[in-house]
């Protein structure tokens, strides 16, 4: 078996609950999700924390910035050998990590205060991450993971599988900002400057909600890689992308559009006469990312 396959299998094993006999008597760590009285830390950009999802899956992250009542953080991982060209090598107290600069999610302050403080990025690494995230600076060659020729479901390299799994671990934390803003009933994003996708009537009609199902119609749907929200007067649907800023193609049935830099959010205007089934719409949205510098057909 190739080494990378062994490494990937080891990584995947982290997602399996430990066997009962491994520690004589396994204790469910989730029972310890309690607030322990301790001194509150100042949460700073560049801090690295650790928590255990479901009580046993280690999740490392670096604090990036505060947005509303939430902290935006970027997932990190010690599985550096599974890193792809989108991940950045860093060190924390001489331990090798990657920062998944594409994989951000949101945590509340009291959650972070209950997590384990692991260390800090040094100033150089922090500046590098900020440049990459904010200014889209390319990741230097000696700081990126292995470059895949193909990076999609069809080819399914170990780096791609790792990438997808890493995203899925923190998916439930990704759309918290959206949920917060919906609760406050505020408009999300910069609607005036948002990118508009005009779907023709034929396509929209295919997602007309059936009368019998009208009561069950949702206004928000979260899928792998994006979320859709119907705005409160149902005059538009907003799609928020997980991995924006990259070159990608969006397909919705017959509609196709290529973006040199996928925006964070796009708006689909709707006629009020259409009761849109956004669950059905979400099932028919496809996002295909193009790998950086891969111009081959």
């Amino acid at each position: 078996m190739r080494e990378i396959e062994v490494i990937y299998n080891l990584y995947e094993d982290e997602f399996n609950p430990p066997a009962i006999d491994e520690y004589f008597e396994f204790e469910d760590d989730t029972s310890k999700k309690l607030y322990f009285p301790k001194e509150k830390r100042n949460i700073e950009k560049g801090d690295v924390y650790l928590f255990f999802e479901n009580g046993y899956i280690p999740v490392y992250y670096m604090v990036y910035e505060k947005e509303e009542d939430l902290y935006k953080v970027h997932k990190m991982s010690k599985w550096v050998m599974l890193a792809s060209q989108f991940d950045v090598f860093v060190k924390v107290d001489n331990e090798d990590f990657i920062v998944e600069q594409w994989n951000s999610f949101y945590l509340y302050e009291d959650e972070i205060q209950n997590h384990y403080f692991y260390g800090r990025l040094n100033e150089d690494d922090l500046n590098l991450i900020c440049n990459i995230v904010e200014n889209k600076t390319p990741i230097p060659e000696d700081r990126r993971g292995l470059k895949s020729v193909f990076f999609d479901d069809e080819h399914n390299t170990f780096q791609y599988k790792f990438h997808k799994k890493e995203s899925s671990v923190v998916r439930k934390y990704k759309y918290r900002l959206l949920a917060e803003m919906m609760i406050e009933d505020e408009p999300i994003g910069d609607a005036e400057n948002a990118y508009i996708i005009s779907l023709n009537q034929n396509i929209l009609n295919q997602f007309k909600i059936q009368k019998l199902a009208a009561k069950a119609n949702k206004s928000t749907v979260v899928k792998d890689g994006f979320a859709i929200r119907l705005d409160k007067d149902r005059s538009a649907a907003e799609i928020y992308f997980d991995e924006y800023g990259k070159k990608a193609k969006i397909k919705i049935l017959d509609y196709e559009e290529i973006f040199e830099e996928l925006p964070e959010m796009v708006i689909i205007p709707l006629e009020k006469s259409i009761d849109l089934d956004i669950e059905a719409l979400a099932e028919n949205i496809e996002i295909i990312y193009e790998i950086e510098n891969n111009k081959k057909t």
Partner: protein, 209 residues
């Protein structure tokens, strides 16, 4: 239920030897997996080395888990996986032929953690490409990449091949190589390393003289 995390914590503080047995149990469960069949040493030797590493890091671990020991078991489990992964990579590195020549290049060029994986993947590329491509393909690949081979190969194998036919052969070879990379899931960096540092061994056959 016993709080095993607390027992391990007390072991690291120097107060409870039972913690070491729990760690041993977790360690042996991991190392007994089929994935580590190729490790060279006795399992106990690996365990001793792991414990040494653990104790060298104990101050940091005690600090991290001081207020809440709950995650310590999972943390140890992760530490063991990473330790065994490193041992596996080390042992596989030294199983390859002519390792002394490559090691010099690898160590002097190794800037990032994934470089050793590039090296190992390149060996797998080398093993598999000679089975995937036929001899004509290999000759063409050498012709395209090995300057010292070009004259000999051109004279011996491509003397009567038109430019058009040559172009078609090259395009077919490109497609085959893409299929090869796709079917094995190899990455671009490892393939590049193979082309630059290992393909010449295959092409030596076609240098002539």
């Amino acid at each position: 239920m016993k709080d095993v995390s607390k027992i391990i914590y007390r072991f690291l503080e120097g107060d409870d030897v039972k913690g070491l047995n729990i760690i041993r149990n977790i360690f042996y469960k991991q190392i007994s997996s089929y994935m580590f069949n190729s490790l060279d040493w006795d399992k106990e030797d690996y365990f001793q080395e792991f414990v040494l590493k653990l104790l060298n890091n104990k101050n940091k671990i005690l600090e991290i888990f001081h207020d809440n020991t709950a995650g310590l078991v999972s943390y140890i489990r992760e530490m063991i996986k990473n330790f065994l992964k490193d041992k596996l990579i080390e042992s596989r590195k030294y199983h390859h032929e002519n390792i002394e020549d490559y090691e010099y290049r690898l160590e002097s060029n190794m800037k990032k953690p994934s470089d050793v994986l590039v090296f190992l993947e390149a060996f797998h590329i080398k093993e598999n490409i000679v089975k995937y491509l036929n001899e004509q393909d290999l000759i063409l690949l050498c012709y395209l990449t090995c300057q010292e081979c070009q004259e000999f190969i051109e004279k011996t194998f491509f003397n009567n091949v038109s430019k058009d036919a040559m172009y078609k052969r090259v395009e077919r070879l490109k497609m085959k190589i893409r299929e090869f990379i796709k079917s094995f899931g190899f990455d671009e960096d490892s393939f590049g390393y193979f082309l630059s540092n290992m393909l010449y061994e295959i092409c030596n056959t076609y240098k002539g003289g």
